[in-house]
Symmetry: C2
Subunit: 464 residues, 2 copies
């Protein structure tokens, strides 16, 4: 079953309405209004909703985090059917630099096959295909063949700050048998890319303090520098040539790929190293001199250690010669974690490492931690989703063991104990998080048909 052309037109208009309502979580802009608009659109499309709320802090300082939208449609003909849950988010990234946008980021401007605007793909575009797919089934058949739930949160772009609390507080509402994660990509050859998991994350800040103020650098002859201390400490944790993390026990929980996973990787289309290097103007060997399948394996399965930022001393532009010994030196490090690694345990290993190497004068702050999540390839939901994607996109699906990125997938999966897959219809180069984000209208339509097909399959499967 497919959406009608009238429904496709409405989909474009609804996405434009959503884009025109800014909802920037990092700046607390428009979140309540956007949530209200989504509730309205869901109601118009026959989906019942509730706005869940949790509080933050106490007393007069109590803040109100953006609400979580819960949506639900029960199957009339089959009320005891299995339940599929769609996870999405209504918040978006900031839009700066505004000057680089060819159309205003909140215009929803349509130009031939593209709708431009912040959130067009991530994640308002994906969300609208899921709402319209349900609505189209309701309109064309008067029912849905399985139970359907929606979770639409408003803090995904800032680390899903309160998501865990929502999951704890409203746990009983979220019971389901399978989860469709917020996104999925379609590559330049129109092949759907399906991710069976996401990496975890440990995000820390490392701070070294020295003299109480920046001092004249002539005193470097006798005063230890926090900038040097930071360089020396960081140097001990990572070998940037091989890509190996040198912290004792770091890889203890990491498991080798199974033979099934290795087969999956080698069956994927080749990694286009030349295209990749050209895109980012890279003139060096890649990490560990990896090539071919090794690159795909690293993206799906290698823990990483990345310096997100480092700073000390004066950093103003054009400030000329300024010879100070800095008072403070800082770095933020993001470690991507793979299945079975626990952020809190890895953090303890990092702290122990610095102590063992004599860096007891360094302060380390745990900023954010997320576990990795992986649904095994053997889970029948994987077959169901990939067959559905291949039937609607009419292309061989590319199945990744894990996205190279991180997200709160593990929170939801651990809370509801269900398989979770990321598949959708965002064009791979749709500029998400950057300027000139857009969604391809042809893919939005195919993506909606994919969700309809998936729901139909899900309603009739006996394998899950």
């Amino acid at each position: 079953m497919n959406i009608t052309s009238e429904e496709a037109d409405n989909l474009v208009q609804d996405l434009q309405r959503l884009i025109r309502q800014p909802s920037i979580s990092s700046k607390k802009i428009g979140l309540e209004k956007c949530a209200a608009l989504i509730v309205k659109i869901m109601h118009q499309n026959g989906i019942s909703t509730r706005l869940f709320r949790v509080n933050d802090g106490v007393g007069v300082n109590r803040a109100q985090p953006p609400p979580l939208i819960f949506g639900e449609v029960k199957s009339k003909s089959n009320p005891s059917a299995k339940t599929i849950l769609f996870y999405n988010h209504y918040d978006v990234q900031p839009v700066e630099p505004l000057s680089k946008w060819i159309h205003h980021p909140f215009s929803g401007k349509v130009e031939s096959n593209r709708i431009f605007g912040r959130g067009a793909s991530d994640d308002k575009g994906e969300l609208i295909t899921r709402i319209v797919a349900v609505a189209s089934l309701l309109r064309q058949t008067g029912d849905v063949p399985c139970n359907i739930k929606f979770i639409i949160e408003g803090e995904e772009e800032i680390g899903s700050t309160h998501f865990k609390r929502y999951l704890e507080r409203f746990h009983d509402f979220f019971k389901c048998d399978a989860i469709m994660w917020e996104f999925g990509y379609v590559d330049t050859k129109n092949r759907p890319i399906i991710n069976l998991g996401m990496k975890g994350l440990l995000y820390v800040e490392v701070i070294v303090t020295g003299p109480s103020t920046d001092i004249h650098s002539s005193l470097a002859a006798i005063v230890p520098s926090p900038a040097w201390r930071l360089v020396k400490a960081l140097n001990t944790i990572f070998d940037d040539r091989s890509g190996k993390i040198s912290i004792r026990g770091w890889y203890s929980e990491v498991q080798d790929f199974t033979s099934e996973e290795l087969l999956l990787i080698s069956n994927q289309p080749p990694f286009d190293e030349i295209e990749f290097k050209e895109k980012y103007n890279l003139r060096k060997h890649l990490v560990g001199d990896r090539s071919g399948n090794e690159l795909k394996k690293a993206l799906a399965g290698s823990p990483t250690c990345n310096i997100s930022s480092i700073s000390a001393g004066h950093a103003e532009k054009n400030s000329g010669i300024k010879t100070v010994l800095p008072s403070i030196a800082k770095a933020t490090i993001d470690f991507r974690l793979v299945a079975n690694m626990v952020p809190e345990i890895q953090f303890e290993r990092l702290k122990r490492h610095f102590l063992e190497f004599g860096f007891n004068d360094i302060s380390i702050r745990f900023i954010h931690g997320l576990s990795a999540s992986r649904t095994p390839f053997a889970n029948p939901f994987v077959k169901l989703v990939s067959e559905s994607a291949e039937a609607t996109f009419r292309q061989r699906a590319i199945i990744n063991i894990s996205s190279a990125g991180s997200g709160p997938m593990s929170l939801l999966v651990n809370a509801v104990k269900a398989p979770c897959i990321a598949a959708g219809c965002s064009y791979l180069y749709s500029n998400i998080h950057s300027y000139n984000e857009f969604a391809r209208i042809d893919l939005l339509k195919v993506g909606t048909n994919f969700i309809m097909d998936l729901i139909e399959r899900f309603g009739s499967t006996t394998e899950l």
Copy 2:
């Protein structure tokens, strides 16, 4: 001979006039006006002047660097006498942060024994004592006992950009037999501190580039990071525990202290490590676990390697979690050099080091270089200056082989081939380069008497 109390009053008023004329070289503010005011004050004090100018660039882009003021008074009774040259500068450091000043930085506000304002000590206060000393001798004796020259430049605080060109162009004017450098300190016990030299400087920028833009750090699994590369490269050049620079050949030209210099160091008052650590809130061992005389030796004679700045990735405050792999990583390093080290040669050694260690992807830029300068302790001018200082300050003088800081002293010394000593009357904790800079009025008076005494001794010595 001493200044009269009327002359002392005039000195304070002249210094206030100078402070009230801003002259910030890094912002090109008020330099011409300040030079004109100094010329006026010098004329009023009986010193003849010339404004020297060099041009910079060509055609319409030709910039006009601030003028160099040349001043001269010839001895009438002894025209073939030796010549003493005073080097000073009329430009000052910026005044930010303005909010921290208790009096406006260009107010010249007098509060009991202090004159507040940018330049009060560095270097307008020192300059005025030298002008008034000459004027007082002229007034009281109708003559000066030796020939006197002044060089007053306007770019000292920005690295004396055109000083070398002035020295080449007007070389013949600057002939002299001894040089008094711009500054000299007086410690908390009113002891004059005399420096026989300054360290040199090599200031470089190290840049590593990676992907053409900041990219999502999930790609750290395969993309080499310029931030890591910079950390790894810097790590190889310096051992921050011992304070030793690990670049091959770095110390080749460095000579041990002579037994005479060692005696000089051990005869200095002890380095007050406790006071020093309290002042900067240092809770660590000093570099190389040095203490006692070793600290004095390091300040006077150790080459240093200091990270003035390091930066990569996002560094905005409160920007929360931002996991990027930076496109570029930068550091500026200042190396203090000691006698006989040549900045250009050390730069080549640094470049060779990075190549030998496999960092051929790193770009290094030579930003500024200055050689060290040292007048030997045995030079008779040292005895003359220190005896004069002890006679006027009525305290034992502290003689340093070299200041721990750097300046263009070597340019002038090499151009005119004369001994050069830094001695003056700035209170050691007078907040130079910082907010609430001030000069002590009692020290300005004693400092003027010191210069008068020095000129008298210089006019009658037969040893130089």
